[in-house]
């Protein structure tokens, strides 16, 4: 198959970007989208041009590195599929394909299709965890988790942190990402002690990073390679309201002895 690609090229964070047009020739339907990009890059290098920079790693749809807007859709046309798991058999021979980086204020472009998603790490650092220092954990089977709760937690925990939700959202909101972590930890009995602080801190950090608010477009769910449910956002909002209603004072710690 042969494709005409319009690929966003941008030399650096402050450089002016624009589309460059490349022909991808001799492409097999069994090639993944990234393997097609590999082929384009090999031919660019052979022609003495700079290859297109893009993030990728596991190529099994789980690491969350790959991040391409394909014809204006985060991760392209297949539902619940990351770019690396998108195969060229889903395109028609001769198609024109536009390839762009994630577009969001909180994800500045580093180069070409590579963006800076470190804001996600900072949202997790703000509260996306259960405090359980190494050592001293009690026997695992003393904590009973009903199967349906474990399943719900796992559904939310399946998030791969790729950022497609942000890229797809007209507001550039990270609510699906943040809600997924809040839901994962908040469903489990282990996550209850920090539930209130968690939602307050993560949402504050989300705002600080420049992510927009959620206005229920639902584009995030449509773009999500793991099809994370919008329920996680509802849950986050519920936790947030509850946290705001409950007054809470830090008690002073007293020295002993």
């Amino acid at each position: 198959m042969t494709f005409t690609l319009h690929v966003w090229r941008q030399a650096g964070p402050t450089a002016v970007g624009g589309f460059s047009t490349y022909e991808a020739t001799d492409i097999s339907g069994d090639m993944s989208f990234l393997e097609m990009m590999d082929a384009v890059n090999e031919s660019l290098i052979e022609r003495g041009e700079l290859p297109v920079a893009f993030d990728h790693d596991c190529r099994e749809g789980i690491c969350g590195s790959c991040s391409m807007m394909i014809n204006g859709v985060a991760h392209g046309p297949m539902r619940a599929t990351a770019t690396c798991q998108l195969f060229m058999r889903h395109f028609n021979d001769g198609d024109t394909i536009y390839v762009e980086p994630w577009r969001a204020r909180a994800f500045p472009v580093i180069k070409d299709l590579v963006v800076d998603r470190s804001a996600f790490d900072r949202v997790i650092a703000a509260g996306g965890f259960i405090t359980a220092p190494t050592g001293g954990a009690r026997d695992a089977n003393t904590i009973l988790v009903p199967k349906s709760d474990a399943d719900d937690a796992m559904d939310a925990a399946a998030c791969i942190g790729c950022g497609a939700c942000v890229a797809a959202c007209p507001n550039g909101s990270a609510s699906l990402f943040t809600g997924a972590k809040i839901a994962h930890l908040g469903v489990l009995p282990q996550g209850q002690a920090e539930r209130r602080e968690r939602v307050l801190r993560m949402i504050a950090q989300m705002d600080e990073e420049g992510f927009g608010g959620c206005t229920w477009h639902g584009e995030c769910h449509e773009a999500c390679p793991k099809a994370i449910s919008l329920d996680v956002i509802a849950r986050m909002n519920g936790d947030y309201m509850r946290a705001l209603w409950t007054s809470h004072e830090e008690k002073q710690e007293q020295g002993a002895g």
Partner: protein, 639 residues
């Protein structure tokens, strides 16, 4: 130099060694811990868990990864599960049995004391992970669920759907980010270690390249922990992530760290077969599928009928036939070789005849499609996405692929390499799996090392060593930085005709053809001539575009492939010198009459440790003798 290495295994009965050793370790006063800096390179299960645990203890920790976030380390892709000797199923499991299975599964080429400790700490790992909120699979009553895995006859594998590695890594990553948030740990993503710095014979820091700006800088420390994963990408096609590389451990090797058993590379039996020359990586289908899937090929070569039209009588369920007691759950090395054998006989299926069926028809009949969907739904989806075939109705096609490397930097019982102050954790070290790793044991080892071994042994090293103050102004750092910058400049200046990938593919093909599932003297000798030729052409004719002062992925790849081109040679040399078959290392010259691996315990019951002696000299082969006081040396049998 002595040709025998001392693993510093503590005295006493095997079940008491670790507890006794922990008691005898030197402690570091809480107030003093913050005066010591520990560098952790890699943020996978071993790296993230070590970094988080060390920061919790109060050390100054810096953690480095080449990915854009620590959460993307390749541990994330592990599917099947994690072993632990909890015996929650009351099916006869115990620490001793997990220890026994692992030593036997490794074909008696691992160190008993380490393996026993691994089995012991497996209990703590599950507790730790559950406390962090890892959403393991549960029974309806709320208790943890287990499944069985290759090489074991008990159900001791804990899992989170087909995404166990992801969930365990996110647990460790969240613990790590918590420390980042508390200001106790500094994370350096998109940063690649390019050299190890020694001062007075001790590891005192690293030189890194910022992959965004290209800046080359140094970080000084008291201890360096390498948790940089395996080197399976030396084969080009493997189940590893594209970025997985050997550079950190290879630079450490060239600074004097011994490299142990490089030829112990595991070929995983259940991967999706290659579809064409464009293939950039191979995708694993979890071994857990072998719980319910039955492996077969047609009895007759050239049988072109679609699988569903081949009657039972014309099928050969060769694993069940050859290994009746383990059947489809035979260990990885055995299942892989058996697949190669039937394909070599011309009975393989799919493009190029390099594939065997993994059939779920019986399991679907027995358990119903819903149960199968619940157990393996995401794996089936992934398979269909890649192959455009529906495994609920058509048997999967699978073929072995490079997956894991048991070899790695040599470490003693404290996980310290031959360089004092350089510790190595997870897949990057060689320690626990011998010549073959059992399924669901990699996650266990990564977390055992990171959560429960490194935090103790690093403290012991700091507490018992007089460490002079060293900072980045030391000339050793200047020298190493200069070396890194010069190498980068050299790669960019070659301006040849071939891309980095073309060299990587060429190397990978030589490795797979002559040092893959089966090896022989003739092939290895050929590979040892061929690889230096490819390497010489690489340094003469590679084309690395762009500059050093920017994000330059071709340059990153070039540096990694240059190292693979050296490591590949060492792997072949090690495979040639080990004149026996054991586990994943199968030398065609050494096999039993029925084609199984034939060990030579008299001459090879040791770890081969390679010591670098300069680029123009053959490395020296040292030995660590292995003693089996608890699990008696025997011919492995899974029949």
């Amino acid at each position: 130099m002595s040709t025998r290495l001392d693993a510093r295994i503590p005295d006493g009965p095997i079940a008491e060694k670790w507890d006794r050793h922990k008691f005898e370790m030197k402690l570091v006063n809480p107030a003093n811990k913050r005066k010591h800096t520990v560098l952790v390179v890699g943020s996978g299960l071993a790296g993230a868990s070590a970094a988080a645990s060390l920061a919790e203890l109060g050390y100054q920790v810096k953690c480095f990864c080449f990915q854009d976030s620590p959460r993307r380390a390749h541990s994330i892709a592990a599917q099947g599960g994690i072993n632990a000797a909890k015996n929650y199923q009351n099916d006869g499991d115990s620490v001793y049995r997990l220890f026994y299975d692992t030593v036997k599964g490794g074909d008696f080429r691992s160190r008993e004391a380490n393996v026993y400790r691994l089995a012991q700490t497996s209990l703590n790992i599950i507790d730790q992970c559950v406390a962090q909120g890892v959403p393991f699979a549960r029974e309806y009553g709320g208790l943890l669920a287990n499944r069985s895995f290759g090489g074991a006859q008990v159900s001791r594998t804990f899992y989170a759907r087909g995404q166990t590695g992801q969930q365990l890594l996110l647990g460790a990553y969240q613990a790590l980010e918590r420390q980042v948030g508390l200001g106790r740990l500094r994370m350096y993503p998109r940063t690649e270690m390019l050299d190890l710095v020694l001062v007075d014979g001790r590891a005192r820091g690293i030189v890194v390249r910022d992959l965004v700006s290209g800046a080359v800088t140094s970080h000084a420390a008291d201890v360096v922990v390498l948790a940089t994963g395996g080197y399976g990408n030396v084969f080009y096609l493997s189940t590893n992530a594209k970025g997985s590389n050997c550079t950190a451990i290879w630079r450490a090797y060239k600074r004097g760290a011994g490299f142990a058993n490089p030829c112990f590379t595991q070929i995983h039996p259940t991967c999706i077969p290659q579809s064409g020359e464009h293939q950039s990586k191979l995708t694993l289908m979890s071994e857990s599928l072998r719980n319910d899937g039955r492996v077969w090929v047609p009895k007759q070569g050239g049988d072109a009928r679609p699988p569903n039209q081949i009657p039972e009588a014309d099928r050969d369920y060769y694993l069940e036939r050859k290994y009746p007691s383990f059947g489809n759950l035979s260990p990885r090395d055995i299942a892989s070789r058996a697949a190669k054998e039937v394909c070599d006989e011309g009975r393989g299926v799919g493009p190029g005849g390099r594939g065997v069926y993994l059939d779920f028809a019986d399991a679907i009949k027995r358990l119903g499609v819903e149960t199968i969907r619940e157990r393996y739904g995401n794996l089936f989806e992934m398979y269909e996405r890649i192959t455009a075939e529906n495994p609920y109705t058509v048997p999967m096609r699978i073929y072995p692929a490079v997956h894991y490397t048991m070899g790695g930097l040599w470490v003693d019982y404290n996980l310290m390499s031959t360089i004092p102050g350089l510790h190595v954790a997870g897949e990057a070290n060689f320690s626990d799996h011998g010549a073959n790793r059992l399924g669901a044991s990699a996650l266990m080892q990564g977390l055992a090392d990171g959560y429960f071994v490194i935090p103790y042994t690093v403290g012991d090293y700091i507490g018992s060593t007089k460490l002079e103050r060293v900072d980045e102004s030391h000339p050793a750092f200047r020298d190493a930085e200069r070396g890194v910058s010069e190498r980068t400049a050299t790669l960019l200046a070659i301006d040849g005709k071939r891309t980095v990938d073309s060299f990587h593919r060429e190397l990978g093909k030589v490795m797979w053809d002559y040092c893959g599932m089966a090896r022989n003297e003739k092939g290895l000798t050929y590979a040892l001539e061929k690889i230096p030729e490819i390497r010489a052409e690489f340094w003469r004719n590679v084309d690395v575009p762009g500059s050093a002062a920017e994000l330059n992925q071709a340059l990153e790849k070039a540096g990694r492939v240059a190292d693979f081109l050296e490591l590949g040679e060492l792997i072949c040399r090690d495979a040639l010198e080990r004149r026996e078959s054991c586990g994943a290392h199968f030398r065609e010259e050494f096999q039993t009459p029925d084609g199984e691996a034939l060990r030579d315990d008299q001459h090879f019951a040791h770890v081969a440790v390679w010591q670098y002696r300069g680029d123009t000299q053959t490395p020296e082969r040292l030995q660590e003798p292995l003693e089996f006081d608890n699990v008696h040396l025997s011919q492995r049998s899974y029949k």
